[in-house]
Symmetry: C2
């Protein structure tokens, strides 16, 4: 018995295609049957027209051993983070998340208390972000833990911000600071390795509180979306930074059909990021570019709106959009130009 009807077939490993190749394969034949589907696959969230309003929908699947390691990710944090990564996608559409569903598959190594811990994290995220848990599914699995979260939010059609809306000369802005979540992961991996060698070793986490918190308990920048509303600013394009600044910049450029230029010296990094990066013989800016999991917002604003953001400590202008032929480049401290590459956050080497 084979999983295929035609046993003569030749098979292609998924690794040969890569993640984006696989997504292209899945989406290339997708048809649209409903005029209410304004946006399907290809942005941070899908958009469904419902009467005069729009519903945003985003979903993520977290798998033990792939996305998290229970050796250092406490279940409560994991539940919290699983919700946050989805809320972040709704925020990236310039909308406020309002509902989530959470589905769990767990092997029998997880007792009731594990489920309670995980849901304590889910509930905490719901409370912090005023989001309702409206459904889900709970089932056993043959091995490991898997969490599937779908987040929803509502917005007026004219308020929704897509990846594709940037224009030439628009300013490129990031919220908060970058690179910390990646370094938090490096520290956890290091301490796990130390512990595995000698079970009496206690982890040395002093001075790493900030980067650890960014890795274990990230936040979605709902506050930034609320700021946009208060300051009556609509970004021209937006995406959340889940895979690293570099990769997200390339998404924005591609979706908007433009080029762009950013400046290394402008990329906001916390001072502890720079010093911890050095410990790991990494460059802090590289962690920001290729690290990922920061869940900050990357967006573009028209030049006329510069006054609205220039004094805001939560927002940093890092460059601007250019015509398509200008490419997608980083200008380094010493004024050299490097093309950006879409390196995933799992790649550990220092590229620069």
């Amino acid at each position: 018995m084979s999983i295929f009807e035609n046993k003569e077939q030749e098979f292609t490993p998924i690794s040969k295609l890569g993640e984006f190749g696989l997504i292209d394969l899945i989406t290339k034949e997708v048809k649209r049957y409903n005029h209410t589907t304004l946006k399907g696959i290809g942005d941070d969230a899908a958009v469904i027209k419902i009467g005069d309003l729009c519903q945003l929908v985003s979903t993520d699947l977290l798998v033990e051993g792939v996305h998290f390691d229970l050796a250092y990710a406490p279940l409560k944090h994991l539940g919290y983070k699983a919700v946050i990564v989805n809320l972040s996608d709704i925020c990236a559409m310039n909308a406020i998340p309002t509902q989530i569903t959470v589905s769990l598959a767990m092997s029998n190594r997880f007792p009731v208390e594990a489920v309670e811990e995980l849901y304590a994290g889910v509930r905490l995220a719901c409370e912090q972000y005023k989001v309702d848990l409206i459904g889900g599914d709970t089932t056993s699995s043959t091995s490991g833990l898997m969490i599937s979260v779908t987040a929803m939010g509502t917005a007026k059609e004219e308020d929704i911000v897509y990846r594709s809306g940037a224009s030439e000369k628009d300013l490129i802005v990031v919220s908060g600071d970058l690179g910390a979540a990646y370094l938090g992961l490096q520290i956890l991996e290091r301490e796990k390795a130390v512990f595995m060698e000698d079970k009496n070793m206690q982890p040395d986490l002093h001075g790493s509180e900030y980067v650890l918190e960014r890795q274990l308990k990230p936040e979605a920048r709902k506050d930034i979306v609320e700021m946009f509303m208060e300051m009556d600013l609509k970004p021209t394009s937006m995406i959340d930074i889940s895979d690293g600044l570099s990769s997200e910049l390339l998404h924005l450029a591609k979706a908007s059909g433009l080029g762009l230029q950013i400046y290394e010296e402008k990329i906001p990094c916390d001072p502890t990021v720079m010093s911890i990066a050095e410990e790991f013989k990494l460059n802090g800016v590289t962690c920001a570019l290729n690290g990922g999991e920061d869940y900050e917002l990357l967006f573009t604003v028209a030049q006329k709106d510069y006054d609205k953001i220039k004094a805001n400590p939560n927002m940093t202008v890092i460059g601007y959009m250019l015509d398509k032929n200008s490419g997608t480049n980083l200008v380094s401290h010493d004024s050299k130009i490097f093309p950006l590459s879409a390196q995933g956050w799992t790649a550990h080497e220092n590229k620069k």
Copy 2:
């Protein structure tokens, strides 16, 4: 390193709590922060108010080795079925499904061609039901295949049918016929066992086409919801039959705060169900009551609406709602009264 912060804790296996106990545990502390959440956990789908309309949302997680066996479920069928079970939940709210998201986790034993097969099934369901695939997530897993589907649909608030709306004396109706999907599974399990003993044996599936199709390629009764609209009939309560008629009747009775009585001789079963059940030394009606996976609709209608359904070959009246004190009973062929029990469809013994 433990998955718990407090290592002194005592642990409770999930099996001790049971599926419904676990759901109670998860939902008991759930708060509602948004007035747009009209219905959270506890029906076939959640209901979100969006402007003048409502959005229905339902989600299901299918796990290899728990919900399906790739030894006999072809990937294309599996993709199709994963979508159908969710569309069925939207139909059970008296709404037409319009969008889905599909997330996949797969170990590296699955090649690109496996993903294509599975999505061919997903696309076929989308085409048949005019539903748009609007998003999802694709990731690797450390073992096995897992599919998480979320389905959405839109309805006017006044058209939505909940489990809780039945009144005393309402007629209890089922669409189609029951018990076949369960017997299809029995045949597949039997032929797999035969094959495992002797790999040269070819499966003997002659005469079982109907029950196999009901198991491997179920359909959602969107057509019934459309009939309701055409005949201007709004059921008073509704649920889809995923866990077996008995379990779903108990859900309706509990949610509506009523009792009920159904008649064994009225339960619609296909003739092949009766004969195949006999082969397995089972009772066909027991398969209908406790089998599950039929994805038919179970609903109640007011007595005044009887004329609208009485000549409809797709609908069978099987009993009526009673006051709470009357209990939830089955009247057998020989007029004996048996209380209904919520036996899951995985229980294989013949209870009657």
